[in-house]
Symmetry: C2
Subunit: 433 residues, 2 copies
């Protein structure tokens, strides 16, 4: 299939035979998954680098497709934030290509020997990483997710069925065409990365019903999407829920570190899941530390909402209610709460947090270790910004999201986290007594 | 709570306030889970050994409770197989106590550093094993599962809510009382292992609705239970589906090994999930190997169902239909199919298997490695019996089941598999650029 055929005009109305089309996509994905699972590391690297080259070579087509998406978005009068997430330019295209090359460069996650041991009867047992199979990824507006998700699925030996946001439909088609060129150039099936060929919302429901065809669903979007997936689907989910992240300034915090980290944790980018939403401050340093931190935040344009003790030293803060402790603002707003030391911080986080990412600022090692041990979140940091909650920052090359569920994968989901394992047992004629 | 209070007569009719009772159990389990997660390895070992001692000390009470279950079973006229699964005797009581001590002796699964690395910016990242939280375990008649499941949950730092089979209700209450004595003797909360205090079936539905309280449901039972759990519950599941296991005798198989392994794989115990249900034979050794293997099986009392090529050399076999390739007999019945070498075996297993456990008998290493690589099952063996599919045989101390799902945990589920992980990140003031 060439870029030309992939880019042909999509139907404006729902496919009358969408069910048949989805079934065909499922069959092709399963066949491709069998082939991908056995592909060598070198072949997958060639496909990813080939895809990066195709993204660069097809930049004009991709930008033209993106222009169609933007024109339709403008007609519908979307918000400037959404329009920005949607828009591609030569710099963003280059970042997409470089992202695929970064995924190519990480160690192959398939075939890793995770554990091995020999039993007294001589059986040699290995636990070895293998791909998950067919991954269904449902996401929203950013076109670059198409390349990241497709690239990570490929690296981990999985086939992917992508259902991108309808706003980025043309852009995603053009990017999937480039991924297909990469797969094809390495001798891998183009069906390893398929885009659902319609903007019809019914396709999401059909994907959720493809138990036995799709092995894992990865919803990347708002809480309502994830709730729908968990409610409707019997397929296991890698869920990314909200990030109600805390930074706790301990009595033993270094003031300069605290100022620098808190401002970064809240304000570097306010719309990401790793942004701090609630600042907790040890009562013992409310007077010595908090005024400086609040002044920095306010200077950066942050709205502050405090409990009565905060208001007492900072009357320009708005009063916080309990609802504030439960709110993921994703905006330049911070709730501030005074607590009784690390015990109070741990209790507050257990009660109001979302088990995503939480940080402590302290120079006291035993307090730090207690916080690390007792805070039950996917990521717990000492003396660092919560905005490091990111697969790229963890060295995973890229991520498909941050899992807030308890069963693995938990935390940033990169290529390694898109594998499962099997046991290989080598005997010499053993039978069970 | 003493053994006496736990053993008091259960209500014969549904508790009018079962909802309130289940909510209370949930609250107590969550509190216990917080405490268990932070318990030291030594404390958990003391609790498990204390429970083993209590099982031995309370043997008379446990046998008396079991006698009540057996009397009720006899009134209902249950099958002799079910009665046998239900019955305890001093030897089985000792095995339960020894099982708890075996769980005590395995390495502590909590706190293991699964990976660690340092980023160029100096952040030190560790992935560390932590408990799952509250595990809901729904199982059928064997009373020993109560001790195994409770013991494994305790070892892995989780709280357990157990819902055993109604036939073993009195036995399970007595065993949970002994587990509570062990917990209490080590200073751990008795609520760490709770038995649902009713035989009312409504309790299962309530457990499935306890999203946010129960973190993981482990159904141990027939396909209908697992289907119900997957359909009704939004809580993640560790599912143990059927074991449609194959043994493939390759052209390069050693005949003596093949005879010994096939008979063991089928006949050692026909009712376990790791029992072989279909024998695949390479066409090239149908004449040289198959007659001996079939004669051994028949001598052991196994009914044989063969395809036309099998019937041609063994006319006493019954004809097999395609339904046989899809049937988990769990009985002294074996389907036998001739295939074209390892390629044919891999294709048959992919089409008809249940991704549980499959074995090859061959002296050809490259054929063995191809089978290990291409057969997509939780456990793949070379020159060994499929009946080794068992957590105990893998060295895990005990198992709560064998997971046939794709996401981890896959394969035997022991204490290590009842953990998840979190990331600990230690910085020195880093902020994200």
């Amino acid at each position: 299939m060439t870029t030309q055929t992939l880019l042909r005009e999509p139907p404006l109305r729902p496919e009358p035979d969408l069910n048949a089309e989805m079934a065909k996509i499922g069959r092709r994905a399963r066949e491709a998954a069998t082939e991908l699972a056995l592909a060598s590391a070198e072949t997958k690297i060639a496909a990813l680098n080939g895809a990066a080259a195709a993204v660069r070579a097809d930049a004009a087509e991709i930008l033209a497709a993106n222009a169609r998406d933007l024109a339709e978005a403008d007609e519908q009068g979307v918000s400037s934030a959404l329009r920005d997430r949607l828009a591609l330019d030569p710099k963003r295209i280059e970042a997409i290509a470089a992202g695929l090359e970064a995924i190519a460069a990480i160690p192959d996650p398939v075939g890793r020997v995770l554990a091995e041991w020999t039993r007294p009867n001589g059986l040699r047992i290995q636990r070895v990483a293998v791909p998950l199979g067919v991954i269904g990824i449902i996401y929203e507006s950013r076109p670059n997710v198409t390349a990241d998700a497709g690239g990570l699925a490929l690296k981990s030996g999985n086939a992917a069925i992508l259902r991108g946001g309808s706003e980025s439909y043309h852009s995603s088609r053009a990017l999937v065409a480039a991924l297909a060129e990469g797969l094809s150039s390495a001798g891998l099936p183009e069906a390893a990365i398929q885009l659902v060929p319609t903007r019809d919302r019914a396709a999401v429901g059909m994907m959720l019903a493809m138990s036995g065809v799709i092995d894992i669903i990865v919803p990347r979007g708002g809480a309502s999407l994830i709730e729908r997936v968990q409610r409707e689907s019997r397929i296991p989910v890698i869920a990314h829920l909200e990030g109600l992240c805390h930074t706790y300034v301990d009595a033993a915090a270094d003031l300069e570190k605290a100022r620098k980290i808190v401002v970064n944790a809240k304000m570097r980018r306010v719309s990401i899941c790793g942004a701090t939403e609630t600042l907790l401050v040890d009562r013992r340093v409310v007077k010595s530390h908090l005024p400086f931190i609040l002044a920095d935040l306010r200077a950066g344009g942050c709205e502050l909402r405090g409990d009565p003790e905060v208001l007492a030293i900072d009357p320009s803060s708005r009063p916080a209610t309990e609802a504030d402790w439960r709110t993921e603002y994703l905006d330049a707003i911070l709730s501030v709460h005074v607590v009784d030391g690390v015990t109070g911080a741990i209790e507050h986080i257990a009660r109001f947090g979302s088990h995503h990412t939480d940080a402590i600022i302290t120079e006291d090692d035993s307090t730090a270790e207690r916080f690390l041990r007792e805070v039950d979140s996917a990521i717990v940091l000492v003396n660092a910004s919560t905005q490091f909650a990111d697969g790229g920052e963890f060295g995973m090359g890229a991520e498909i999201g941050i899992s807030t569920q308890r069963l693995p994968p938990r935390g940033p989901v990169g290529a390694e986290q898109l594998t499962t394992y099997k046991y290989l047992v080598r005997g010499t004629g053993q039978v069970r007594p």
